[in-house]
């Protein structure tokens, strides 16, 4: 079965689970993206001779679940044969998504929040949910974010990956009308995503000095220093407690990832070795950062 088919079945299966268990989820990215935001091929490139859209390539099905429903969704998915491969804390520095796998279907990336959206995750979900609409995926009606919300999510996602020349940004922002861009900006303001949106649309300097500026500068410019990203990530946290948690989590080795890499539970010795490697890596990164900073200072004199 082609991956593009399997991903659509995953969306349909998750929607069936959600409906049967009163779980609210929005289907995002991949085959759920509005046709108006897809790349278009000219008539000459199509077998049928008519212009058409290019399907998005994905490896998994992404959904954004109402935060209060996350635990229930996981419990039900496990009952339907899904296994948690990576929990939120095992994933990106944002701890925003968990990956679940299935013996037949494509993996599911379950998001409890979307990186770049600054307001409380439940409030943000409610805001997106309020303007959702339904589209058929694998023939199954699935709720998806509004067109402007899809534009915002695609831009922010591309910016996070440092892909500022990504065609998603072109189609979602630069090719949009003034009204369409204003609608996206309005939503970003409501969701506390204005810094991330600015990063994706070349206007980040307007937000210099604001919380999140350093982080989105680092992400959107493909900063290679893990330490710089680490510092920016910690500084972007609104609360001291969450900043501390982020700081610690980002420098500790991840037992579940180690488990996946090894194909079994890591031994105490392997975990100890991972801690040592992580510490050496951290020291090396800091040393490199200091070197580059002092060289930079010397160069400016």
């Amino acid at each position: 079965m082609p991956t593009s088919v399997s991903i659509r079945f995953t969306h349909a299966a998750l929607q069936a689970i959600a409906e049967d268990n009163d779980i609210d989820l929005l289907h995002i990215k991949g085959p759920t993206v509005d046709e108006r935001l897809l790349a278009v091929v000219s008539a000459g490139d199509q077998l049928c001779g008519a212009p058409g859209t290019v399907a998005r390539q994905s490896v998994d099905a992404d959904v954004l679940v109402r935060p209060a429903h996350v635990d229930r969704l996981f419990e039900v998915m496990h009952r339907h044969g899904w296994t948690t491969a990576y929990h939120f804390a095992d994933g990106s520095a944002f701890e925003h998504a968990a990956t679940l796998t299935h013996p037949v279907l494509s993996p599911a990336d379950v998001h409890r929040r979307f990186p770049g959206i600054g307001i409380d995750a439940s409030t943000a979900f409610e805001r997106l949910w309020a303007e959702r609409h339904t589209v058929p995926i694998a023939g199954t009606p699935c709720p998806v974010p509004s067109l402007r919300a899809q534009r915002l999510l695609l831009i922010v996602h591309a910016a996070r990956g440092g892909a500022l020349d990504h065609s998603d940004i072109q189609r979602s922002w630069h090719f949009g009308t003034e009204e369409e861009r204003a609608a996206v900006q309005q939503l970003a303001d409501d969701l506390g995503a204005e810094v991330a949106l600015a990063a994706g649309t070349g206007r980040l300097e307007e937000y210099h000095g604001m919380r999140g500026y350093e982080l989105w500068k680092a992400l959107s410019t493909n900063e290679r220093s893990h330490v710089r990203i680490w510092v920016a990530r910690v500084r972007s946290e609104a609360k001291v407690a969450s900043a501390l948690r982020t700081a610690i989590r980002l420098i500790l080795p991840n037992p579940r990832r180690l488990h996946t890499t090894l194909g079994r539970r890591p031994t105490a010795r392997e975990m100890a070795r991972a801690y040592a490697q992580r510490a050496r890596w951290g020291l090396g990164e800091v040393a490199e950062l200091v070197r580059s900073t002092s060289l930079g200072r010397r160069g400016r004199r």
């Binding site: 079965m1 082609p2 593009s4 088919v5 399997s6 659509r8 079945f9 349909a12 299966a13 998750l14 929607q15 069936a16 689970i17 077998l47 049928c48 399907a55 339907h80 044969g81 037949v104 694998a138 023939g139 199954t140």
Partner: protein, 95 residues
């Protein structure tokens, strides 16, 4: 004439890039079924049925370039099989 529809809980995907009419359709009972694939005339029978063709055998005969009487019996058997497997259901007739 029997009218068919897709049963609730049956998902279907025509893969990207398929011609018209598509030569392949994947079906699956969600969330817990196994994907199944229908190809060529099997796909055309299912698609014709769920698209509301009033005479599925006639539509399929046209697609395969045969006379209706040559394919009608096989089409009817396959439609009954699809209904039996829960991949198709008959619309209740309007009184």
């Amino acid at each position: 004439m029997t009218v068919y529809r897709i049963p609730k809980g049956v998902a279907f995907v025509v893969p990207d890039g398929e011609p018209d009419p598509p030569g392949v359709v994947f079906l699956m009972h969600v969330p817990d079924g196994f994907p199944q694939v229908l190809q060529n005339s099997a796909a055309w029978i299912w698609l014709s049925a769920v698209e509301g063709e009033p005479d599925v055998a006639d539509a399929v005969a046209h697609l395969v370039g045969r006379a209706k009487h040559e394919v009608a019996a096989d089409v009817e058997v396959f439609l009954a099989d699809l209904v039996g497997r829960g991949l198709l259901e008959e619309e209740p007739s309007v009184p």
